[in-house]
C-alpha cells in the first residue's frame, strides 16, 4: 500500500492487517479506510475473519502485522479501555446486575464524570434512543428491540470516534430485525458517528450501509457502495454471495473485447459479457451469473425479439413472497431450472404450474467469471 497523507476526514484506516491463529490465517493483509460519518459494513460468511478484524479494531486481539489508525493516530498496542472506540456485542452484553441507567452510566463513571453530569447525559441519551422512562428498569424487563437501543445508548453516551457493531441484529426475530435496520440507519445519519458493522446477512449490509466490504477467507473481495456490489461484482465470490443469481458453467467459444459467446455444459448458447475487471479468452471455462430480476418474462415469443438470449420453458413452481415473488422455470431444452423474479405489474399473477413461458435477457445482464477449478453443477444461488 502506498504512503498516503492522512486527511482529517478519515476516521479509521487499516493497512496490511494480518492475524494468524497457528497455521490458520484469519485476516490476510487487509487494508481499507473509512471516512468520517460513514456507515461501513463488512459482509462475509461465518469464519471469513470479519469478527477477528473487528476485535482487532476494538483491541481484544492484536494484529500480527499492519497498522490501525484512528483519526490518524495508531492505536496498535493500546488497551481496549483506552481506545476511542466502542463496541456493540453480538448478544449486546448489557450488564444484568445493573439497571438501565447504571448500564449507561458505567462508561461515564470510569471517566470520573461528576454525578450531576452523568444523570444529565443518561437522561439525554435515553431521550435520543426514544426510551426516556426506562432508566430504573432491569435489563431483563426490556424487550429485544429496547435492549438493542440501550446497548447503542451505552456506547453513544461516550461519544466514540467509531462504533463497532458485531451482528447485533442476529438474535432478533425477522419483523423486529427489519424495523431495527431502518432505525439503526436513521440513528446513524442523525448522530453522524462512524459505524463499522459486520454481518453475514447481505440484506442488512445492503440496506444500511454507505459502503460495504465483502470479505472471504480473510481477504476483502471488493469494497464499494451496495449498488456497485450488486450490479458490478468484481469477483465471482461477490456475484455469488450478494443477491440471488442463476449460475451456469460453460466454455467461452469466442471473445470480442468484453462480449463473449459461451456454451454451457448442457449445450445452451449464450451471449454474455466478461465481468468488470475480468478478461476472458476463447477456450476458457466460465461461470455465468444472471440475476432473477434481469430476465424478461412473456407469454408469447413476439415481445422477446431483439434480446441477446432467448429461452422457452414451463412453470415448475411458483415461489410467492409478496413483492419478492419469483417463479422457477424449467428450461425446455435441458430441463435445468431458472429462477425468474415476477414483475409487480400483475401480468403474471395467475401463472399456473406447467404453463409455457418465454424468457429473454441481454448479454450485459449475463456476467462471466473464470470458473474455479473444481466443477460444480449449474443452478441458482442465494
Amino acid at each position: 500500500m502506498s504512503v498516503e497523507v492522512h486527511s482529517p476526514d478519515i476516521d479509521l484506516e487499516c493497512s496490511g492487517l494480518v492475524k494468524r491463529f497457528g497455521d490458520f490465517v484469519a485476516v490476510d493483509d487487509v487494508s481499507f479506510s473509512i471516512p468520517t460519518g460513514a456507515f461501513f459494513s463488512i459482509l462475509g460468511p461465518s469464519g471469513c475473519g470479519k469478527t477477528t478484524l473487528l476485535r482487532m479494531i476494538a483491541g481484544f486481539q492484536s494484529p500480527d502485522a499492519g497498522d490501525i489508525l484512528i483519526k490518524g493516530n495508531s492505536i496498535v498496542g493500546m488497551p481496549p479501555n483506552r481506545r476511542p472506540v466502542n463496541m456493540i456485542f453480538q448478544h449486546l452484553a448489557l450488564f444484568p446486575m445493573m439497571s438501565v441507567a447504571e448500564n449507561i452510566a458505567y462508561g461515564l463513571k470510569r471517566r470520573r464524570t461528576s454525578k450531576d453530569k452523568i444523570a444529565e447525559k443518561v437522561a439525554e441519551v435515553l431521550e435520543r434512543v426514544a426510551l426516556p422512562d426506562t432508566g430504573d428498569k432491569r435489563i431483563n424487563q426490556l424487550s429485544g428491540g429496547q435492549m438493542q437501543r440501550i446497548a447503542i445508548a451505552r456506547c453513544l453516551v461516550l461519544d466514540p470516534a467509531l462504533l463497532l457493531l458485531d451482528e447485533p441484529l442476529g438474535a432478533l426475530d425477522l419483523k423486529l430485525r427489519e424495523q431495527m435496520k431502518v432505525e439503526l440507519k436513521q440513528l446513524q445519519s442523525e448522530i453522524g458517528t462512524t459505524f463499522v458493522y459486520i454481518t453475514h446477512d447481505q440484506s442488512e449490509a445492503l440496506v444500511m450501509s454507505d459502503h460495504v466490504a465483502v470479505m472471504n477467507e480473510g481477504r476483502f473481495e471488493q469494497v464499494g457502495t451496495p449498488q456497485e456490489l450488486y450490479y458490478d461484482p468484481k469477483t465471482r465470490f461477490v456475484a455469488e454471495f450478494v443477491g440471488d443469481s442463476n449460475v451456469w458453467f460453460g466454455r467461452v467459444e469466442a471473445a470480442d473485447n468484453h462480449r463473449l459467446k459461451v456454451t454451457t455444459e448442457d449445450g445452451l448458447p449464450f451471449l454474455a459479457v466478461a465481468a468488470e475487471g475480468q478478461s476472458m479468452r476463447a477456450g476458457e471455462r466460465a461461470e455465468i451469473f444472471v440475476r432473477p430480476e434481469s430476465i424478461q418474462l412473456s407469454h408469447g415469443a413476439d415481445r422477446m425479439e431483439g434480446f441477446d438470449n432467448n429461452m422457452t420453458g414451463q412453470v415448475d413452481s411458483l415461489l410467492f413472497n409478496g413483492a419478492n415473488s419469483a417463479v422457477l422455470v424449467r428450461d425446455q431444452q435441458t430441463g435445468g431450472k431458472i429462477l425468474v423474479a415476477l414483475p409487480q405489474t400483475g401480468e403474471f399473477a395467475n401463472l399456473l404450474k406447467g404453463q409455457d413461458l418465454h424468457l429473454a435477457w441481454n448479454a450485459e445482464q449475463a456476467k462471466c467469471f473464470p470458473a474455479p477449478a473444481e466443477a460444480k453443477t449449474s443452478g441458482t444461488t442465494s
Binding site: 481496549p80 479501555n81 472506540v85 453480538q90 452484553a93 446486575m97 458505567y106
Partner: protein, 285 residues
C-alpha cells in the same frame, strides 16, 4: 390417581425425611432437653438454665467461642481470597482439557482422608519436619524451627481443607459469566479492578455466598485440623464440646455448647447473607 401420586411422593421423600428426623431433628431435641437440665444428685436431674449461665460466666468458654468464630470468619475470607483468582483462572482463562485437568487437581487431595492430609501438614511443619530441615540446610536459620501449634498453622490447615468447597461453586458461577460482559466492561473504559468490582463480583455473588456458607460451617465445626495442628492450646470450641462429652462426662454442658454453636453459625451465616444482599435459597442453588 391423585392418591397414588401422593403415596409415590411420600415414598420418594421417605429416606431423606427419615434421615433428617433420626439424625438431625431427634438428636437436637434430645440435646435441647439435656442442655436445659442440671444434675442435682446421681441420676437426679432438675430443669434449669445453669448450663447456659455457666457458659456466659466462665471467660474461658466465652473466649473460646469468640475466638472460634473470629478464626472461622478469617479462614473463610482467606479461602475466598485465594480461591477467587484460582477459580477465575480455571473458569475464564483456560479452555478444554487443561481446564478439566486443573479442576481435577483441586479434587485429588480429597481422595485422601482428612486425617492423612493433616498429618501431611504436620510432617512439613514440625520441628524435625521438611520445612525446618530445608531452612537449616539453606543456612537461613541456626536451629530447628517449630512451626506447628500456633494460630498460623491452624489457619493454613483450615484454608487448605476448605479450598475445594470454595473453588467448586466459584468456578460454576464464573463459568456462567459471558465473556462478552467482561470485554464490554473493558471496552467502555473499565480497568481490571473496576471490571472485577462492577461486573465479575456482582455476577459471582451467589457463588461467593454459597462457598462462604459451606466453608464457614465446615471450619466452625472442624475438630481434627485445629486439634492436630494447634495442639493442646488451640482452644477450638468443638474441642470444648468434645471435652465436656467425653472427658468430663458433662453431657448437660456439652449439649448447651452444641446448641450455642448451632445458634452462632446460624447468626453469622444470616448476617453474612444480609450484608452481601443474598438469600439462602440463592446461595445454595
Amino acid at each position: 390417581m391423585k392418591e397414588t401420586s401422593r403415596l409415590g411422593l411420600l415414598l420418594l421423600l421417605a429416606p431423606i425425611l427419615l434421615w433428617l428426623a433420626c439424625l438431625v431433628i431427634l438428636p437436637h431435641i434430645d440435646m435441647l432437653i439435656i442442655s436445659l437440665r442440671t444434675r442435682v444428685a446421681a441420676r437426679v436431674y432438675e430443669p434449669s438454665f445453669n448450663n447456659y449461665i455457666e457458659f456466659f460466666t466462665e471467660p474461658l468458654y466465652w473466649n473460646t467461642f469468640a475466638r472460634t468464630a473470629i478464626m472461622s470468619v478469617t479462614a473463610t475470607m482467606m479461602t475466598l481470597m485465594i480461591a477467587f483468582p484460582v477459580s477465575f483462572y480455571i473458569a475464564k482463562m483456560l479452555r478444554g482439557r487443561i481446564k478439566n485437568f486443573l479442576f481435577m487437581l483441586c479434587l485429588i487431595p480429597f481422595w485422601v482422608s482428612e486425617l492423612v492430609r493433616t498429618f501431611g501438614w504436620m510432617i512439613l511443619l514440625r520441628e524435625t519436619g521438611v520445612v525446618s530441615n530445608a531452612l537449616q540446610w539453606l543456612g537461613l536459620v541456626d536451629g530447628p524451627v517449630e512451626m506447628l501449634y500456633n494460630d498460623a498453622a491452624i489457619m493454613v490447615g483450615l484454608v487448605y481443607t476448605s479450598m475445594l468447597f470454595m473453588v467448586v461453586p466459584l468456578v460454576t458461577v464464573l463459568d456462567s459469566l459471558d465473556d462478552s460482559l467482561i470485554e464490554a466492561g473493558y471496552d467502555l473504559g473499565g480497568n481490571g479492578f473496576t471490571v472485577t468490582r462492577e461486573i465479575v463480583i456482582p455476577h459471582a455473588m451467589p457463588g461467593i455466598a454459597s462457598g462462604c456458607v459451606v466453608v464457614f460451617m465446615l471450619t466452625l465445626g472442624n475438630y481434627l485440623t485445629p486439634t492436630l495442628l494447634g495442639g493442646k492450646e488451640s482452644l477450638w470450641f468443638t474441642e470444648q464440646i468434645y471435652n465436656q462429652f467425653i472427658t468430663r462426662f458433662n453431657w448437660e454442658l456439652g449439649s448447651a455448647f452444641g446448641f450455642l454453636l448451632l445458634v452462632l453459625s446460624s447468626v453469622i451465616v444470616w448476617l453474612g447473607l444480609r450484608l452481601s444482599g443474598q438469600t439462602l435459597s440463592q446461595a445454595i442453588r
